[in-house]
Symmetry: C2
């Protein structure tokens, strides 16, 4: 299965940073830098030493608080005759776009951007350079709406929430066909029924797409007790600058965090220090948008992340935990590019990629949907990601000889135990204890409580007693 318990780091393409850079200065490594200057030109990006956002400037699409623009935009939206209602996933993309994760995109894709994403996994900026963009960020429209908007010759629409309240205006609009079959085939490499994102956001969506320039009335909030973790790329850049980070390494996660992940992250920092970086900072960045029904929910995962920091498994001094607001495609090699690209915009210049990133089981066949190695291969070759240092890591496991998570050593493979996400779930469900040192006690307790909430515990459980103690 896609998730394996632990990993080992390789650094095949890294060179040492140039010497003589001070605190907070960018450390260039041996990877071609395209697109010129390192200093971000974005008005709100004070982190001058961090990697430049895609397109040179972080695109932020929320109306500024000052100057009355929000009130004016709210009035403008209310006056627009056409309203497009956003579903859950649409709102997550609106959030993503509004904060510049998808820079240089300025709104939902028009057809040229959509076609480039589908065919090339990259879009061409105004200056002709390619910027990575592997998943379509689009808004669907049904035929009746399409006809009404076009009959009016409208050039802008209001985007509204489930309660019909305006949240944004999409202007200079373009409406084009939503060829679902082609979109699905080119994004997932299959059209098999049962792809979670497809069922959630495509199958019942309209047959048209509407693109345009987006302006969002105010920052997107979820009021679920986790908004303090939802840092925008601009806020993350400020935080990295405040910490004088000279390297930022991002770790994308949608599964429960365990000590194998922690080992990997700690080891990555150690290696970056060895390479000459003075203060590498980890962006521990669980995905917060739509996930499939059998994934562990965000609220549980965030509680786990809190435990990991509380119990000192990761050092809070060199770790920033935040939520990545994107929905999950489960599109393997196509999606991992999006995961990496978005983190460049948040200031990360190193990206850790594991086995079968963004992968899952084939929905109708008894096999993984993607080759487990394709994700890191595709990522390392992707157009527009030349500036990013890719850190691939080998699969590893629980070391039964040393009773802890350890990098896999093929010379003594019989010592290693693989604990997949599926296995972890089954352990927790059956109240069995995981091997000692697999996960921090607080984190395991959170997980067991979650599975308890799904189905009451059956029979006796030593583990349950242990974690309740």
């Amino acid at each position: 299965m896609a998730t394996q318990a632990a990993f080992a780091v390789r650094f095949p393409q890294l060179a040492r940073p140039s010497r003589g850079h001070g605190q907070g200065q960018p450390a260039r490594v041996g990877v071609a830098v395209r697109g010129g200057r390192a200093a971000a030109r974005g008005v709100r990006c004070r982190a001058g030493g961090l990697i430049e956002p895609d397109g040179g400037r972080l695109v932020e699409l929320v109306a500024p608080e000052e100057g009355g623009r929000r009130a004016a935009l709210r009035r403008e939206a209310a006056a627009l005759p056409h309203r497009v209602r956003l579903g859950r996933v649409d709102t997550e993309w609106l959030h993503v776009l509004s904060e510049g994760w998808a820079s240089p995109l300025r709104g939902f894709m028009r057809e040229t951007e959509f076609l480039q994403a589908l065919h090339f996994n990259a879009v061409r900026g105004a200056d002709g350079t390619l910027v990575n963009m592997s998943v379509p960020i689009v808004l669907a429209l049904d035929d009746a709406q399409r006809r009404a908007i076009q009959a009016d010759g409208a050039t802008a629409v209001a985007l509204v929430d489930a309660h019909d309240r305006p949240v944004a205006v999409l202007s200079d609009i373009e409406i084009y066909k939503h060829n679902k079959e082609e979109r699905i085939a080119r994004t997932w490499g299959t059209t098999a029924r049962g792809l979670p994102y497809v069922e959630e956001a495509i199958t019942n969506a309209g047959d048209w797409l509407i693109g345009g320039d987006l302006e969002v009335i105010e920052p997107i909030k979820y009021n679920d007790g986790l908004d303090q973790y939802r840092l925008s790329p601009s806020q993350l850049r400020e935080e990295f600058a405040r910490r004088n980070a000279d390297a930022v390494f991002a770790f994308q996660l949608r599964n429960p965090v365990h000590n194998g992940h922690a080992l990997l992250m700690t080891d990555t920092r150690r290696r970056l220090l060895e390479m000459g970086y003075k203060n590498p900072v980890l962006l521990l960045h669980p995905l917060g948008g739509f996930t499939k029904a059998d994934d562990v929910p965000l609220s549980v995962r965030m509680k786990q992340h809190e435990k990991v920091l509380e119990e000192g498994v990761l050092n809070p001094e060199s770790t920033v935990v935040a939520i990545f607001p994107s929905p999950m495609h489960y599109a393997g090699p196509t999606e991992v590019q999006w995961h990496a690209k978005a983190r460049i915009n948040a200031g990360a210049n190193f990206y850790i990629v594991g086995r079968d990133p963004a992968g899952m089981g084939h929905p109708t066949e008894k096999r993984d949907l993607y080759d487990a190695d394709h994700g890191k291969k595709v990522l390392s070759m992707a157009p527009g990601l030349e500036r990013l240092n890719i850190l691939p890591f080998k699969v590893a496991a629980y070391d039964t000889k040393h009773n802890k998570m350890n990098f896999f050593d093929p010379s003594r493979k019989e010592d290693f135990l693989f604990i997949s996400g599926t296995k972890m779930r089954s352990l927790a469900k059956n109240r069995e204890s995981p091997p000692d040192g697999f996960m921090c006690p607080g984190g395991w307790k959170v997980l067991v409580e979650y599975y308890d909430s799904l189905a009451p515990p059956e029979g006796s459980s030593k583990l349950r007693e242990a974690v309740a103690a």
Copy 2:
């Protein structure tokens, strides 16, 4: 349907060539030139003024006649313990690779090239620049062969024809999985059953792919009476240089040629002259490889092309008719990039693209497989094709007011008659005459004779008497 009878030229992105260039000198137009020098560095490319081949050098993989290399390679191939038999389509790709149409590819794709083609429609050259490559050029292997080769640790295999005669050696081989579903979905944007290339070359192919460096024993010949039309990119470049071409415009065709095509080609030359080119030469380049069962066969199409030149519909002085040896994917926007890219390697710096290029009907739904506009849109944005001038043209038709093919004039649309490939076939089959001036008499006669050979004529036929006269 995909084929419409006639077209109108637009030149949206052309600028005038720089003044002062002499005969045979390259005429630069207002399109970004990447990758440096215009002069081909290929040893056998004497056409110094033509557009540079992809990767800077035309890759030719046929063993040289002189020096005994062919005999040595033949002995080497005969001694290799592992032989991979080439099917019809495999041989066509071998032909394509051997002459450098796919430069800078040096053989059947290894996995990194395959993945880049599938995900990015482009592969990265040794110097990091992107070269367009939208369709996988791969060789399949069944599981028994894969196991035998890997058990031996073989590093090279002989490629043999249907009679088990060695035609090439593939060395420094790499064997990797042939995920057919993913390949099909990402290439065609559908996995519907009934795609002609898939049924011909993928469905029954092996579950593994073998890539490597190719060396071909001698030039590929078909001995079908048409080999004199099969000019290699190197031969075409020599011919263009001999004619002192200062612009080469390529026209890809897999359907019967008619006066609409001729009008378009003549008009393109006129416009290139107006732009300041002294001697634009047309590469009229019918596709010669695998086509679907209901397409008109190559031999018939070539007879038609001969008539078009004989009857002066096109000027032989400024026209080179040759066969493009590639098989047909019918993969629309993905494939049109291949069609264009290959012609760069043959020296063309202008490419004419029509409505729904390389398109066809959806195999299981009552609609075209691709949006008719996507081909030219995708082509104009494709990575690695920045140097090529794309000449899109609008659909047009038979002008009933002037009794000839004419560029479509929307102000008097009632005057125009659209004659699709399907309609043309039905006219010929039913012995009905097409409108006067739709096709040159000799060309129409060739077509009628072909349909006669498929099914004997029924009833009386004025047309048949006319063309027989």
